[in-house]
């Protein structure tokens, strides 16, 4: 297996505040890697730093053998990296179809129809809602749309930021099943940021635990799930 994404000692700041404290993460081609941690640990910041917003102040980010540390966001996002951002951020006044078209804005128009069909087979609900405005969808449907939109550019690496946030448990299960299918059927590498550690670790091949902007622990999903400190810190309560 080759390394697709490699973060080495990445530090990132919001103004004067340090959000990432020199983290190392490796994502292999074809893997699902999850990043778990509490609120404010730096999970979303890690994803945003990979996308170049904010740019890493020190350290290095390599993607598919290329150094992308100092590239502008829009260039990084055209290199086969795709993101479903935190809070979904779909275009509320545009229809489902238009949202998906925006996802394919820089792809080859020749395979647009095929990609659209794939997204619809993954999320049949979106097909039913095709002419509806994004803002009128339910939270779960919006999340499906955000993931679908990110898939429209045929990514090699898909970054998912809290896909379960604020979504009914039944839909969460559907969305996680879809993530698994994206990875298994299409071979898309996935870096998943989650608060729902139980679901995320069960799904992922490997996981990293982020505490206060630093990696505290890493291991395979089942390893991490079995560790008592993880259970105590992230799985207490309703997860089982």
């Amino acid at each position: 297996m080759t390394v697709l994404l490699d973060l080495e000692g990445v530090a990132a700041y919001y103004g004067a505040i340090q959000a990432l404290n020199g983290i190392d993460i490796q994502v292999m081609e074809g893997e699902i890697v999850t990043l778990i941690g509490a609120n404010g640990a730096g999970k979303s910041t890690t994803l945003m730093t990979i996308c170049g917003s904010p740019q890493a102040r020190s350290g290095r980010i390599m993607y598919a053998g290329e150094d992308i540390t100092n590239r502008p966001t829009h260039q990084i996002m055209r290199m086969g990296i795709s993101q479903s951002p935190e809070g979904r951020r779909i275009f509320p006044r545009m229809t489902v179809l238009e949202n998906l078209q925006m996802g394919a804005a820089f792809g080859d128009p020749a395979h647009f129809d095929a990609d659209l069909e794939e997204v619809f087979s993954l999320f049949p609900r979106l097909k039913e809602r095709i002419a509806q405005r994004g803002g009128t969808l339910s939270g779960g449907e919006q999340q499906m749309l955000a993931i679908g939109r990110a898939l429209m550019s045929r990514p090699r690496l898909l970054l998912l930021d809290e896909p379960s946030l604020g979504i009914a448990p039944m839909l969460v299960r559907q969305i996680f099943a879809a993530i698994k299918e994206i990875n298994a059927a299409k071979g898309v590498t996935i870096l998943l940021v989650e608060q729902n550690a139980f679901h995320a670790l069960r799904l992922a091949h490997r996981g990293y635990v982020l505490v206060n902007g630093a990696i505290q622990m890493s291991g395979t999903g089942s390893e991490l799930l079995a560790r008592p400190e993880i259970r105590a810190a992230y799985l207490e309560g309703g997860a089982v």
Binding site: C51, S53, P72, T73, H74, Q75, M77, R78, S82, Q83, P85, R89, I90, F91, P92, R93, M94, T95, L97, E98, Q101, M102, G103, A105, F106, K127, E128, I130, A131, Q132, R133, R149, A150, S153
Partner: protein, 425 residues
């Protein structure tokens, strides 16, 4: 749902008719007549009184029935999607109607010089509104200095046409190009700003252009403005009684000379330019760049995460909006024959922006309605003199109260696949 109780209503109407009869009998039924030979006589016209009373009853019944039906309809609230489809067809018919009306207006009997002038003025603002709509309505960039590009277009045309003597058709694209160029110059440094900040900078830019025009006396004539700007000709045929070089418009077509020819030509010219702006906008909305404008208006962060370069995308919107402003400016210069910085004050930017906002941001037909209302309306209220601006303000307040998102605020999707909305579940 409550059914309408016809019998009760009929009874009520019958009572109304009886009350009416009690009144019509003395008022209409008995009439004194003193013109006859034997003094005053009383004329009895009972039939009229009864007919009137019946009329009252029937009228009462109809009004009640209409009111009941209206209520019933309102109670059966239509789903939003059906209302949107309804609005869409309304907008469609309005658009088609306005197009036909605009085309035949010069041929209508009441279309005298005044009507044509007002029509031309309204169309100029429609075009400006459509141009600004690209920037404000589609790309969501609040531009308070749009008049600057209008001014750049007007002065470019005036300067090029009077110095080089080139024809209108050569100068027009040049004026547009200059305006677009200024759009890029302004856009580069300021487009990283958002919302209020962008608005303030564009406001300042509009004023800077005006102040430069006012003070650069050698080049622009300063406050004296520029006069004797070449008038447009009909593809080489001038609109004049006679011309030293070659045929004039009326000679060529064998018409009686009339000063109306040029007025009507100018009207159709701005009609065509405005239509060009509209068709361009409708087309580009379906292209990736147009869709990116709208997406940028919705969510800039999401756009960047999809690989959209926000700076370039905003810059194209700014430049293209400016270009259409420049076209309109060139037209303004050639129509007036005289321009001065007076014509390009902030209030112009405000009026154009008001047209876009009141029309419903991004709505093409809404801009037309708002331009007719605001520009045509103020023309019609010219007799009110100092109350004119009051009426203008009242109209704006009224629209904002009843239609806070503009006259026609429904955004039309650019593509449709599968079942039409309203047809499915």
């Amino acid at each position: 749902m409550a059914e309408i109780d016809y019998i009760a209503q009929a009874k009520e109407s019958a009572i109304a008719a009886l009350v009416g009869l009690a009144l019509t009998v003395p008022i209409v039924g008995l009439r004194t007549d003193s013109s006859g030979p034997d003094g005053m006589t009383i004329d009895v016209r009972m039939l009229d009184a009864v007919l009137l009373a019946i009329g009252i009853g029937v009228g009462h019944f109809m009004v009640n029935l209409a009111r009941g039906l209206l209520q019933q309809r309102r109670r059966a609230a239509k789903p939003a999607i059906a209302r949107a489809a309804n609005l869409k067809s309304v907008a469609y018919f309005l658009g088609a109607g306005a197009l036909v009306f605009g085309l035949v207006l010069p041929g209508l009997p009441f279309a005298d010089r005044y009507v044509m002038d007002v029509g031309t003025l309204v169309l100029t603002y429609v075009m400006l509104g459509w141009g600004l709509n690209i920037v404000v309505g589609l790309a969501g960039l609040l531009d308070l200095g749009y008049v600057a590009f209008y001014a750049v277009g007007a002065y470019s045309y005036a300067l090029i046409a009077s110095h080089f003597g080139w024809s209108f058709w050569v100068c027009l694209p040049l004026a547009g190009a200059f305006a677009a160029f200024f759009g890029i110059i302004l856009g580069f440094p300021v487009l990283r700003l958002r919302g209020d900040y962008l608005a303030i900078v564009t406001l300042g830019f509009g004023e800077i252009i005006r102040v430069i025009l006012l003070n650069w006396y050698d080049f622009t004539g300063g406050p004296d403005g520029m006069s004797r700007i070449p008038r447009p000709d009909f593809f080489g045929l001038p609109f004049a009684r006679s011309s030293p070089d070659g045929a004039t418009f009326h000679e060529f077509f064998g018409l009686e000379f009339s000063s109306m020819h040029r007025i009507i030509f100018l009207y159709y010219l701005i009609f065509a330019l405005a239509l060009l702006t509209n068709v361009f906008t409708l087309r580009i909305r379906r292209l990736p760049v147009g869709r990116a404008w709208e997406a940028l208006r919705e969510d800039e962060i999401a756009c960047r995460s999809l690989g959209v370069n926000p700076t370039n995308t905003k810059l194209t919107a700014f430049a293209i909006g400016a270009m259409f402003g420049g076209f309109a400016g060139a037209f303004f210069a050639t129509r007036q024959g005289f321009i001065s910085p007076e014509s390009f004050t902030f209030i112009e930017s405000a009026v154009i922006l008001a047209i876009v906002v009141l029309g419903g941001m991004g709505s093409q037909i809404g801009v037309v309605l708002a331009a007719i209302l605001l520009i045509g309306g103020t023309e019609i209220f010219r007799d009110l003199a100092e109350y004119r601006m009051l009426a203008f303000g009242a109209a704006m307040v009224a629209i904002m109260v009843w239609k806070p998102r503009g006259l026609l605020s429904n955004r039309e999707p650019t593509v449709r696949l599968g079942p039409k909305p309203g047809a499915g579940s």
